[in-house]
C-alpha cells in the first residue's frame, strides 16, 4: 500500500515536471461563503466557477494550459475569510476569486493587493472599488452604477414624488438603500417610509401596512428573492396598488415562481440575471440546470464570468503573468462575439468597476418583459 502511494507520488512528481514543461495547470484560488448565512451566494458562485472551468478545460484550457481551482469556505465570517485568503495567497495563485460578502472583501482585499495578486470578487457594496485598490475587480454592477438607473426610472417614467423604501438589513440591502436614498434626494423625491427588514423574515404584514399608511407614489423593494416573494404576496393581500420597483432580485424568475400572480406588475432594473433576454445567457442557464439541477441566481453567473474574465485577460496578454494581470484587465473590453463565455459585452474601468448592458423589465402575466434596454455607457 505504502509503496503504491510512493509510486503514485513519484508518478505525480514526474508528470507534474513534464506538465510544467508543456504548461502546468494554472492555479486559481476561490474563497467563498460555502456555509453560514451566505451559503446560497457562495455555492452559486462556486458552481458557476466549476462549470466555466470544466468548459474551458474540455476545450483545451487557456493558452494550452488547464485551469485548476481550490475552493475554501469562509463560513460567511470575515475573520475566517481572512484566514482562508491568507492561506490561498501563501500558495501564490494566479488569480484570487471571491469572496461574495462585501465585508469579507473589505478584510481580504488589502492582503491580495499587498501580494500583488488580482482579486475578482462578488461584492456589490459601492465603496469597495472607491479605495484605489489596483487589484480588485467586480463581476457585477456595483450599487453605485445600478441604483442611479433605478432612481432615474422612478423619477422620469413613474414621476413619483414620494417613495417607500423596503430593504433587508445586511450589507447588501443597507448598501443599496443608502445609495438610492442619495439619488432620491437629488431628484427631490421624498422618502415616505424607510423600512428595515431582517434576512429570512417571514411576515411582512406590519411593513406593508406601514407602506399603505405612508401612501407613497411608488415603493422600492430591495430584499432577497424569498423575502421579495413574501412581501409581494402581502402587498397583494392588503391591496396596495402603488408601482413596485426593484433591482435584480424583485423581478427574478424565482420570485415569479414563488409569488405567482402577486408578482405581476413588479418592475425593476436587471444587470445580470439568468432571465436576461440574451441567447448566450439562456444557453448558460440551460447548461447550469443540466449540471446542478437548479436555476442559478446572479451569483452563479458572477462565478462563471469571473473565470471567463481570467481566460480573456490571459489570452489578451498572450502569457500567464500574475503581475501584469490587473494592468491588462483595467480598461479591457471583452466582446461576447469573440469570447462567448463572457455572455454580454463588458468593459472594466480603472477602478475595477464594470460597464455592461442593463434591462428594465416588468412582470406581465408571470413572464419577464423587457421594457427598455439600457445600453453600455461606453
Amino acid at each position: 500500500m505504502r509503496s503504491g502511494i510512493f509510486a503514485g507520488l513519484l508518478l505525480a512528481t514526474v508528470s507534474a515536471a513534464t506538465a510544467l514543461a508543456q504548461g502546468a495547470p494554472i492555479k486559481l484560488a476561490d474563497v467563498a461563503e460555502l456555509s453560514g448565512g451566505g451559503a446560497t451566494v457562495g455555492n452559486n458562485w462556486k458552481n458557476g466557477i466549476d462549470l466555466a472551468i470544466e468548459e474551458i478545460n474540455a476545450k483545451g484550457g487557456v493558452l494550452g494550459r488547464k485551469l485548476e481551482v481550490t475552493h475554501a469556505d469562509s463560513q460567511s465570517n470575515p475573520g475566517v475569510a481572512r484566514a482562508q485568503v491568507q492561506k490561498a495567497l501563501d500558495n501564490e495563485p494566479y488569480v484570487l476569486l471571491g469572496p461574495g460578502y462585501s465585508g469579507s472583501v473589505k478584510v481580504t482585499s488589502p492582503l491580495a493587493a499587498e501580494a500583488g495578486i488580482t482579486q475578482i470578487m462578488g461584492g456589490e457594496a459601492a465603496e469597495l472599488t472607491q479605495g484605489g485598490n489596483k487589484f480588485l475587480f467586480r463581476t457585477s454592477f456595483g450599487q453605485q452604477s445600478s441604483m442611479p438607473k433605478v432612481a432615474k426610472y422612478i423619477n422620469d417614467e413613474l414621476k413619483a414624488k414620494s417613495v417607500a423604501i423596503v430593504w433587508v438589513n445586511n450589507d447588501f440591502g443597507k448598501g443599496g438603500r443608502d445609495v438610492i436614498s442619495k439619488e432620491f434626494a437629488k431628484y427631490n423625491i421624498k422618502v415616505a417610509a424607510d423600512l428595515s427588514t431582517e434576512a429570512g423574515q417571514a411576515d411582512f404584514a406590519a411593513d406593508v401596512s406601514k407602506i399603505k399608511a405612508a401612501a407613497p407614489d411608488a415603493a422600492f423593494i430591495y430584499l432577497n428573492e424569498e423575502e421579495s416573494a413574501r412581501i409581494l404576496k402581502e402587498l397583494k393581500r392588503q391591496a396596495v396598488a402603488v408601482p413596485l420597483v426593484g433591482e435584480t432580485t424583485l423581478v427574478g424568475q424565482k420570485v415569479v415562481e414563488l409569488a405567482g400572480d402577486a408578482a405581476n406588475g413588479a418592475r425593476g432594473h436587471v444587470g445580470l440575471t439568468t432571465d436576461a433576454p440574451v441567447d448566450l445567457v439562456k444557453a448558460f442557464r440551460e447548461k447550469f440546470v443540466k449540471k446542478y439541477n437548479y436555476v442559478p441566481d446572479h451569483n452563479g453567473l458572477k462565478g462563471y464570468l469571473a473565470i471567463y474574465m481570467v481566460k480573456a485577460t490571459t489570452e489578451k496578454m498572450g502569457k500567464v503573468d500574475a503581475k501584469k494581470f490587473a494592468d491588462t484587465l483595467h480598461g479591457l473590453t471583452i466582446k461576447a462575439a469573440s469570447e462567448p463565455g463572457i455572455l454580454m459585452d463588458v468593459t472594466f474601468d480603472e477602478k475595477g468597476d464594470i460597464d455592461r448592458q442593463g434591462f428594465l423589465v416588468e412582470i406581465v402575466e408571470g413572464k419577464q418583459v423587457v421594457k427598455q434596454v439600457l445600453p453600455k455607457l461606453n
Partner: protein, 332 residues
C-alpha cells in the same frame, strides 16, 4: 504528587511554551493567523471557564463581550488612540456590564440564566448593527491598525502572534493566581454548594456578580486583540454563534479545568482547519468528532485525563491497602 511528577510537569510546561515560541517562526502567514486566533479565543474561553467552570453560572453572552471589546478597540484605535487605552476601556466596560448582567444570575439558574444571557447577546448584536453613528453598522469598521508594543511594530504576522501569545501568557498567570486565591475557592464553593458556601460566611451574592464581571472582562480583553488581528470587524462574527462556540470550547476542553480552554480553543479553531482537506464535509466531520468526544467523556478532554489519573491513584491506593492488609493478617 511526588517530587518527580512535579519536575515532569514543569519540564512539560517549559517544552510547550518553548514550542509555542520557536515552532511558529517558520510558519507561513496563514499558520500564524490561525495560531493568533487560537490565543485570542483561548483568552475569551478562559473568561467563560471562570464564569461557568469555576462559578457554575451558564452564560451565552461571552461572544457579545468579545464584540464589545473588539468595537472598543476598533473605534478607539481608528481614532488614533493607543490600543492599551482601548484595552483599559474594554476591561472596565465589560466588567461593569458583566456585573449588571450578573444580577439575573442571583435570581435564576441554569437554562433560565442561559436565556437571560442569550437575550443580552441578541441585544448587543442589534446595538452593533443598528447604532451606525458609533459602530458604522453593517458596513463594519475597516483599517484597524495593529499596535506598537514597547517600540516594536506588530504589523507583520509573527510579531503580532507573539503579542497575542504574550497577552495569553499574562492572562494565564493572572488566572492561575486568581483560582488559587481565596476568591477562586469561593467561586468553586459557589458552584458546588451555594447554601453551604453562604453558611460558611461567603458573600455568594458578591462572588456571583464577581464571577460574571471578571469572566466578561476577559471576553473584552480577547475582543481588543481580535479587532487588530482581523483588522476589520462587522457585527456578524459576534452573534450568538460565537457565544455558543466559546461555550463549546469550555465544555470540550474540560469545564472547570485550568487548561480546558487551551485545549477547547485548539479543537474549535484548529480541528476544522485540519479537516478542510475533506472539502464539503469538514464541518460535518467536525460536528461528529465533537459529539463523539462528549459521548465518550462528558467532562471534556481533560476529563479523560482526570479519570485516568484518579483511576491510577485509586489502584495504587488499593494496592497499598492490600499490602498493608496482608501484612496485618500475616502478623503474629
Amino acid at each position: 504528587m511526588t517530587a518527580i511528577g512535579k519536575y515532569w510537569r514543569i519540564a512539560l510546561g517549559v517544552a510547550v511554551i518553548a514550542a509555542l515560541i520557536i515552532v511558529p517562526m517558520n510558519f507561513n502567514r496563514y499558520g500564524l493567523y490561525i495560531l493568533s486566533q487560537w490565543a485570542v479565543m483561548t483568552i475569551a474561553a478562559m473568561g467563560l471557564n471562570l464564569t461557568l467552570g469555576y462559578a457554575g453560572q451558564v452564560s451565552l453572552a461571552q461572544g457579545a463581550f468579545v464584540g464589545i471589546g473588539a468595537y472598543a478597540a476598533a473605534i478607539m484605535t481608528t481614532q488614533g488612540m493607543p490600543l492599551i487605552v482601548a484595552l483599559g476601556v474594554a476591561i472596565v466596560l465589560c466588567f461593569a456590564i458583566g456585573w449588571i448582567l450578573g444580577y439575573p444570575a442571583l435570581r435564576v439558574q441554569h437554562h433560565y440564566l442561559a436565556f437571560v444571557t442569550l437575550a443580552f447577546s441578541t441585544l448587543a448584536f442589534l446595538v452593533f448593527r443598528n447604532e451606525d453613528w458609533l459602530t458604522k453598522g453593517i458596513y463594519g469598521i475597516s483599517n484597524i491598525p495593529r499596535p506598537n508594543v514597547l517600540g516594536f511594530a506588530t504589523n507583520r504576522p509573527l510579531p503580532f502572534y507573539y503579542f497575542c501569545l504574550g497577552s495569553l501568557g499574562i492572562v494565564s498567570l493572572v488566572m492561575w493566581w486568581l483560582i488559587r486565591s481565596p476568591w477562586g475557592r469561593a467561586f468553586v464553593a459557589l458552584r458546588e454548594n451555594p447554601v453551604r458556601a453562604l453558611s460558611l460566611g461567603i458573600d455568594t451574592r458578591r462572588y456571583t456578580l464577581m464571577a460574571f464581571a471578571i469572566g466578561s472582562a476577559l471576553g473584552g480583553v480577547a475582543g481588543t486583540l481580535y479587532a487588530p488581528l482581523t483588522q476589520y470587524i462587522d457585527p456578524v462574527p459576534f452573534n450568538l454563534s460565537l457565544s455558543l462556540d466559546l461555550l463549546m470550547m469550555v465544555i470540550v476542553g474540560g469545564s472547570g479545568f485550568f487548561f480546558g480552554p487551551f485545549l477547547g480553543a485548539m479543537i474549535a479553531v484548529l480541528l476544522p482547519e485540519w479537516l478542510r482537506f475533506t472539502q464539503g464535509y469538514y464541518l460535518m466531520l467536525y460536528a461528529v468528532a465533537v459529539m463523539l468526544l462528549l459521548i465518550y467523556s462528558p467532562t471534556g478532554i481533560l476529563g479523560i485525563l482526570d479519570r485516568y489519573l484518579t483511576e491510577r491513584r485509586t489502584k495504587a491506593a488499593s494496592a497499598l491497602r492490600a499490602v498493608a492488609k496482608s501484612r496485618l493478617e500475616t502478623a503474629p
